[in-house]
Amino acid sequence: MRCFDFHCQGESHKATDKVCQDYSYSHIDEDGLAIAVVCDGHGGKHYFRSDVGARFATEIIANNVREFINNIDETLLVGQPFTQQAAIQTEIDRQDFRKERPVDNAFRQLFASIIGQWQQRIEQHAAENPLTDKENTQVEEQYRKEFQEGYKLEKIYGCTLMAYVSMPRYWFAFHLGDGKMISFDQDAQWKEPVLWDDRCFLNKTTSICDSDALNEFRYTYQGDGGFPIAVFLGSDGMDDSFGEDTNLVNFYVRVAKSLVKDGFEATFADIKETLPVLSKRGSQDDMSIACVYDEEELKVALPKFILWQIAITKAGILKVNNKILEATDKRNDLEEKVITLEKDKIALRYAQNDIERAYTEKQQLVKKMNVLLEEYYGKDYVPYQDEVGEQPKERQQVWRMDDHPFRVHLVWVEIE
């Protein structure tokens, strides 16, 4: 097993001179424990020490997990099938209660201990560290007063957390708040090992600073011999940069391939270089990643990772081909009739634009496909082709607008 973690300041935090509020940790212990943790301190003025809260949470999780695995009766976990548990709050909402076993009590004690120690630690930190001049000037009076009175301290230090823990005979993971955890199996198939919490939506998240944080932990465990071959933990700065889950997973596949082909050092150097760039191009947020992986299993799964990428690229091309065919049909229908209505002129213009855009998108996907085909089949690969093909060049059509660019007075010009 190997691991790595990295966190860095987001682009928007650089612009506002705000520290990085993410924290990450990973380690492989001699007794076979592999652990990865990511904590994401909340943004916003009220959470002006969330960077400290995230660091404390990370350290406390690492310590408590070690204590947990040293003390737990292993039989509670060994032999257990893959089991996902939703947050108690979700179970209450659904009136579907599933946490009735001793192992669930053990996890509840672990989570209670994490929250309790985190609260103690932030109270101690607040007592030892009065507001700095900078904090005094930055914080609104209401929050300053709360801080000085020791009231709602947990809000000031609030963060999300997630952790993956693997032992030789079992593994478990837990999550409170947003960010995404992605795992891969031997067939290079991915999943979110821990159930999502629908209360985490856009910029809203559950948090360790919530009054019912203990009921917001969700977790997963398995002890029947099944292990992920790689698990990636990323703060929401990561998944917000990629939009659709498939794009995020594809990035992790890219990292996994690099770990196999280029080795640990080169890949980790690339991650340190890439994450700030990704923040700038994507979410602008702080970025953090932590990963535990099985080097040998990744090597074996490498071809399957490439095939997965080929499959999703092919699916993307098929989707674009459908757009091309639909827009072409629409354009052809409109071209067959004498267009007098403004509505039809606009529809024709949109159809033409849709065709152009879809062909451009397809070009990019085909380029990607050929890179992947070469990676899988070697230099003798057969470049991708399909019946829809590339954009025909026999006729160019241009809409020229004779008035305001957003008005509908359009002139149709054909260029032979």
Partner: protein, 247 residues
């Protein structure tokens, strides 16, 4: 060597701007003309915000409602590609149906929205000069259960004294987000101000502390309204010094 090679996609984040426009019979004439004119003129400005904003691109969708409701296009368009088709006024005020239709599209599986990761909360601008003639409460109840709507920036423009401000307040969740206009120029200006402010604030990653984006929009629009002759926040209606003038 970068991990962000040609096999990795990093799409731009997206913010959706919705116009909900009352096209009932009472809007006929100068009111609907002003709405058409104002939206056409604000689209290039939204495009500029979208193009120059590193955080997100802005897409626009428009829903007109009179007797029933209708999307101008069956998918959201980038601001620079949105060709405005002048809307006509006639019929009743099916705001309840419009709420239900908006709720349909505020979803990923059957609507206009993408993954919440990589999206910003939408901005919704409602314009109306009257009172609903259908079951508004039922439509709004469905809409209010929608997560995208709960997170959205919501602003309403009451066109004239006959607009039901109580209804608009229920829609936005606060009467501070309802702005009343009493003449054509004020209507045109407020549409521009609300659309631009919502887009600028809504499509930014960073927020000013704990102030919600909706609160920021309200604050900025309220400041702008002070300088628009014939416009006012709905909370000040009782003390209004303006009379409707739609000629």
């Amino acid at each position: 060597m970068s991990l962000l090679d040609e096999t990795v996609s990093v799409p731009r984040r997206t913010m959706m701007l919705f116009f909900m426009i009352d096209t009932s019979g009472s809007m006929a004439g100068s009111k609907i003309g002003a709405v058409n004119d104002a939206v056409v003129n604000v689209l290039p400005m939204l495009d500029e915000i979208s193009v120059t904003n590193p955080d997100a691109e802005i897409k626009v969708a428009a829903l007109e409602f009179s007797t029933g409701c209708n999307w101008l296009y069956n998918e959201p368009k980038l601001a620079n590609e949105f060709v405005w088709q002048d809307v006509q006024a006639n019929g009743l005020t099916s705001l309840g149906a419009a709420c239900e239709e908006l709720e349909n599209k505020l979803s990923r599986s059957k609507g206009f929205m993408q993954s919440a990761s990589g999206s910003f909360a939408p901005a919704i601008i409602l314009l109306s000069d009257g009172a609903p003639t259908d079951n508004f409460e039922a439509g709004l109840a469905k809409l209010k259960a929608n997560n995208w709507f709960k997170s959205a920036i919501k602003v309403a423009i009451a066109i004239g004294d006959d607009a039901d401000k109580e209804v608009l307040t229920k829609f936005t969740g606060t009467n501070e987000a309802v702005f009343t206009v009493h003449n054509i120029d004020a209507l045109k200006q407020i549409i521009r101000v609300v659309a631009i402010t919502s887009s600028q604030i809504g499509s930014k990653s960073s927020t000013a502390g704990d102030t919600t984006k909706q609160d920021q929009v309200i604050s900025e629009v309220q400041n702008a309204v002070d300088n628009i002759d014939g416009a006012e926040v709905a909370t000040k209606v009782d003390g209004s010094s303006y009379a409707d003038d739609w000629d």
